[in-house]
Symmetry: C2
Subunit: 199 residues, 2 copies
């Protein structure tokens, strides 16, 4: 138990340090914090524990987008991709990129590194995750170059939509959600939540 | 810079503590470590930074599996799902479950929590990630109830295959990979690596 207690202290130290401001260069120079942590407004935050509903949304939404975006090379949805752009470094649950913004190697494979803003980010709220913190993550992404953001709240069956500098809009039920303009996709909030049924 | 330095010390403290043995209950009682960390053999490890190739494999392989497994309710591939079973708690890059092992709610949605062993785990080696550590993660999963494991090495174009207690097999080129028996899927190592071309 002493070990667990020390570990907790250490984590609390990390946590309390994150209330101080680090530069993005300082954040990026900390390899150990990269996988789990995001850098937003000079603060470091950790992503929550991924559960079944989160994982289901991630694969089902990304698959739905790629079904439309990939055959015609319009856009592609990447799950769990580190995106460092402007003064943020985040790992959106889903990062959608217009095809022209995807980096390719001469051998035609996707290249590994590219500090670009995802055109559209989708976040799925986890139980116990702070909605305000995730809203701030999406706002920061948009301020730094992203065009569109969705915040999905599975506990409340609504989706907050961020488009440019407009006030975010709460959409429910049969509301048709905005998507990237290159995609010809008519999708409602109900359609998104029905993805959880795997049907 | 003082802040970054403190943060590094704190991280090193966390790291050095992870060389001591925690029980899985103690690990699970540490909410802050859950998103980023995995518990294998009483040790805590952090997942690496997710890059484009990693994310591309994750979505393309999971989509390919679900295209076959979902319509007939045979199996489903979940990206980034926390799996706690036996004495490990891991977040496989892809966790594939036989349909019967997926937890559903009365409203037909996927339920959030279920301490089950994924039937098949797929890991994608990241640059700078220790192959031995990931091999150990797959071995531990199999020892604790998983049936099949793939370890994809993008830098070397091979896939290590773990099946039950057998010696892992290195597969290349036109080798046909084993998949869950419920899936009727003929896939070669080349097929998997071609997924990186998004074609």
């Amino acid at each position: 138990m002493a070990i667990a207690s020390d570990q907790r202290q250490s984590l609390e130290l990390t946590k309390s340090l994150s209330t101080n401001k680090l530069s993005i260069e300082e954040f990026l120079a900390l390899p150990e914090t990269k996988p789990a942590s995001e850098y937003i407004d000079g603060q470091i935050y950790q992503k929550p524990m991924p559960q079944f509903q989160h994982s289901t949304f991630q694969i089902e939404i990304a698959t739905a987008i790629n079904l439309i975006g990939k055959p015609q090379k319009l856009a592609f949805a990447f799950p769990e991709l580190r995106c460092t752009f402007g003064d943020v470094s985040i790992v959106p649950d889903i990062a959608v990129m217009r095809w022209a913004n995807i980096p390719f190697l001469p051998n035609k494979r996707v290249a590994n590194e590219a500090p670009v803003a995802p055109d559209w980010i989708i976040e799925i709220l986890s139980p116990d995750q702070s909605p305000l913190r995730v809203m701030n993550k999406i706002s920061s992404a948009i301020t730094n170059g992203s065009e569109l953001g969705w915040l999905i709240s599975p506990a409340q069956d609504f989706i907050m939509v961020y488009e440019g500098d407009r006030f975010p809009e709460k959409m429910i039920g049969k509301d048709v959600l905005p998507v990237l303009d290159v995609l010809n996709w008519q999708v409602t909030v109900d359609d998104v939540f029905n993805l959880l049924c795997l049907e």
